[in-house]
Amino acid sequence: VSRAAVTLPQHGPRPHQMAVFIVVLSVVSWGLGAFAAWPWSPGGPRTAYVRVSVKHVTPPLAVAQVLSADELAKLPPHMRPQGGAPTSAGRRADAVLTLELDGRPVLTRTLRPTGLHRDGPIHAYEEIRVAPGRHRVTVRLASAQGSGPTETRALGRDVDVSPGQVLLFEHVAGTGWRE
């Protein structure tokens, strides 16, 4: 031969390979559809939840300070308290959240005010699983009143909980507990 004899691969898909290809794609299509909506039980069978959501503004820990006229005059106008109201006293009190189920405490959390200076509201979101059936649920939010007595806000309810139900106990700042 005057030129090199080169044998290069010639591999096109054969008819039976095209048929298998279609089968493979059918399986892939089925897999896409199946696993894009495969059922899942998020809570498991026979499960219900009690959720507690809290937003609350606890009182300042320190005694509020009332500025004198001289002190007020030194402040820029936009920083002067309206009507001679007390200035912020800094850190606010912690609160204790308690959840009782059938008279038995199942959750106790100490909640700290938000903010770098701990002078913001407190927030909490808690969730516990309960067995369906009739229960006595009591939620309490206790916070110290400066040097005064502790204030406790409580809500107790007898409830029938069905499977999959979510009972929400929500404490709204300025309003109190609501279901």
């Binding site: 031969v1 005057s2 030129r3 090199a4 004899a5 080169v6 044998t7 290069l8 691969p9 591999h11 096109g12 898909p13 054969r14 390979q17 095209m18 298998v20 290809f21 279609i22 493979v24 794609l25 059918s26 892939v28 299509s29 089925w30 896409l32 559809g33 199946a34 696993f35 894009a36 909506a37 495969w38 059922p39 899942w40 039980s41 998020p42 809570g43 069978p45 499960t47 219900a48 939840y49 959720r51 959501s53 937003k55 938000t114 903010g115 913001g120 509201p121 927030h123 909490a124 979101y125 499977p163 999959g164 139900q165 979510v166 929400l168 929500e170």
Partner: protein, 526 residues
């Protein structure tokens, strides 16, 4: 007896040194993956094997998701009640158009994330993620994360039971961070707390993140010459048909409307996007720990699992004629043509950027003038080593066949024996007498003139066992070689009377098929 000369540094037998355990484990996993590819090759032919086109299938699927998403966007309404109702209304559009669009949108998103994940797995198991390829790995991970994020926000917009689970689990996850004054999860205690504005924000993210995807994709392929955006036409069409078939036969449906007062006994979950849902019962801080460690480890893979640095290319400027063939053939845009600096009569010269060079040697095979060296050795060293080994083989009583191969060498090493004396550094196949094997980084390194030289040095014929072109370790080596030998690309095979060349493509694990083919080639030569 001929005095043995050391093999050029670019050849791969015997192995320069034993690799550490983690590299051997990676290679073992890679071989397992390659067997899966081989099985599909034999079932559907390499040209149709979807595992060779995972990257472009992901891009095509995202394109389908974009087009169908525009349709859905036109009819979508925001709000806890309106969102779910509007999606249901879209599904009820006449002639099934809405249902088809919605299903295609979902399944193309699923196909995109599956294909992208498989693409990453393939790059990992085929050792294509380190060295200059680190940028592809890192941006690929970012792309995968953004595809997931875009898809997850899409699921949220439907505001069904799955969206609520997604919202609550994500909110609990984020609430661990000390950035938020108020727990995000409190937003989802009741539907009346969720403002339409939140839907606008999520919709905005869902629509705009794909723009970031476009920019990331550009970075992902910026080091690739002739980057392919779409799969071959037949694969593109059948992917489209598969998506349509899934949409028609199993239309995508929403779960029940999101209701924070109920935990449904069962909800449909897209496991391609949310495989972690069963783990959401874990403490969010533990989840953060797992996610952070996993992300850092995966990002560091190009450095944790890197191999020995390959010999890179360098241009011997005096020999360079500025022909631009190396520049055109380099699959990684590692070569640029610049103005001549040595006063030669040629106007330009090639320069290799070592930070981009992966050491494939394709540029060496493209160069007529011997102007490129790999590992500081010109191609003449390879030619003289071949000559020596063929002569040694003849002196040992064989009528040699020269075999050039690349990744297949990993499967051959246990079947090679030195013929002259131990340590002489060349291999002869135990099962095919006289077959002298030269392992190269890529068969694209073979300049066609090497074939004639081999026959002149005493080879009965030359057999080249390269990577399957759709799966070439260096993207284009097999394709360029075939085109050169067919005379369709320069440098083309010149007239070489009496030279017999056989070429075949193999997966790195197909040793048995290679042995059969080589034995048949040897019989044909006899």
């Amino acid at each position: 007896m001929f005095a043995p000369t050391p093999l050029p540094v670019i050849t791969s037998f015997p192995a320069a040194r034993r690799e550490p355990l983690h590299r051997r484990l990676l290679r073992g996993a890679g071989r397992a993956y390659q067997w899966v590819e081989v099985a599909l090759d034999r079932l559907v032919a390499p040209a149709l094997n979807p595992l060779y086109h995972t990257g472009t299938i992901a891009v095509f699927s995202l394109a389908v998701a974009t087009v169908t998403g525009i349709y859905l966007f036109l009819f979508y309404r925001v709000g806890t009640a309106a969102a779910h109702a509007s999606v249901e209304a879209i599904v009820a559009h006449p002639f099934g158009i809405g249902a088809l669009m919605r299903s295609l949108h979902r399944y193309s998103s699923d196909a995109a994330i599956v294909a992208a994940a498989l693409h990453g797995l393939k790059m990992l198991l085929n050792d294509r993620f380190w060295g200059p390829r680190w940028i592809g790995w890192v941006t690929g991970l970012a792309l995968l994360a953004f595809v997931w994020f875009t898809g997850a926000t899409g699921y949220w917009l439907v505001w069904d039971a799955q969206a609520l689970v997604l919202s609550v689990t994500t909110a609990k996850f984020l609430d661990v961070l000390p950035f938020f004054a108020e727990p995000i999860v409190q937003t989802f205690v009741a539907n009346d707390r969720i403002q339409n504005f939140l839907f606008f924000i999520v919709l905005f993210i869902h629509v705009t993140v794909p723009l970031v995807l476009g920019a990331l994709y550009w970075i992902h392929v910026m080091r690739l010459a002739r980057a392919r955006f779409l799969p071959p036409r037949v694969v593109l069409w059948v992917t489209g048909v598969a998506l349509t078939a899934a949409s028609v036969l199993r239309p995508a449906l929403s779960g029940p409307p999101a209701d924070p007062t109920v935990v449904p006994a069962s909800i449909p979950v897209d496991w391609f996007y949310f495989p972690y849902f069963p783990l959401t019962a874990l403490d969010p801080r533990l989840a953060w720990g797992i996610a952070t460690v996993f992300a850092l480890v995966v990002l560091a893979v190009p450095w944790l699992l890197r191999g020995a640095a390959p010999a890179t290319a360098r241009v011997e400027t005096p020999a360079c004629t500025g022909c631009t063939r190396c520049y055109k053939d380099c699959p990684y845009e590692a070569i640029v043509m610049v103005a001549r600096t040595d006063g030669s009569r040629y106007k330009t010269q090639a320069v290799v950027n070592p930070a981009r060079c992966v050491g494939c040697g394709i540029c060496v095979g493209a160069c007529d003038s011997g102007g490129i060296v790999l590992g500081d050795e010109p191609i003449g060293v390879l030619a003289s080593a071949v000559t020596t080994r063929l002569a040694e083989s003849r002196a040992s009583g064989h009528d040699p066949i020269l075999v050039y191969t690349c990744r297949l060498m990993a499967s051959l090493e246990g079947h090679l024996v030195p013929v002259a004396r131990a340590g002489s550094g060349h291999g002869v196949l135990r099962d095919v007498p006289g077959a002298v094997v030269m392992g190269l980084p890529c068969v694209g390194l073979i300049h066609p003139d090497l074939l004639g030289q081999a026959v002149a040095a005493g080879a009965r014929g030359v057999y080249i066992a390269g990577c399957i072109p759709e799966d070439c370790q260096f993207r284009e080596g097999s394709t360029w070689l075939a085109q050169r030998l067919a005379g369709a690309r320069l440098p083309a095979l010149r007239d070489a009377p009496g030279v017999r060349v056989g070429v075949e493509w193999y997966s790195p694990v197909e040793r048995a098929r290679f042995m059969r083919d080589l034995a048949a080639f040897a019989r044909d030569l006899a």
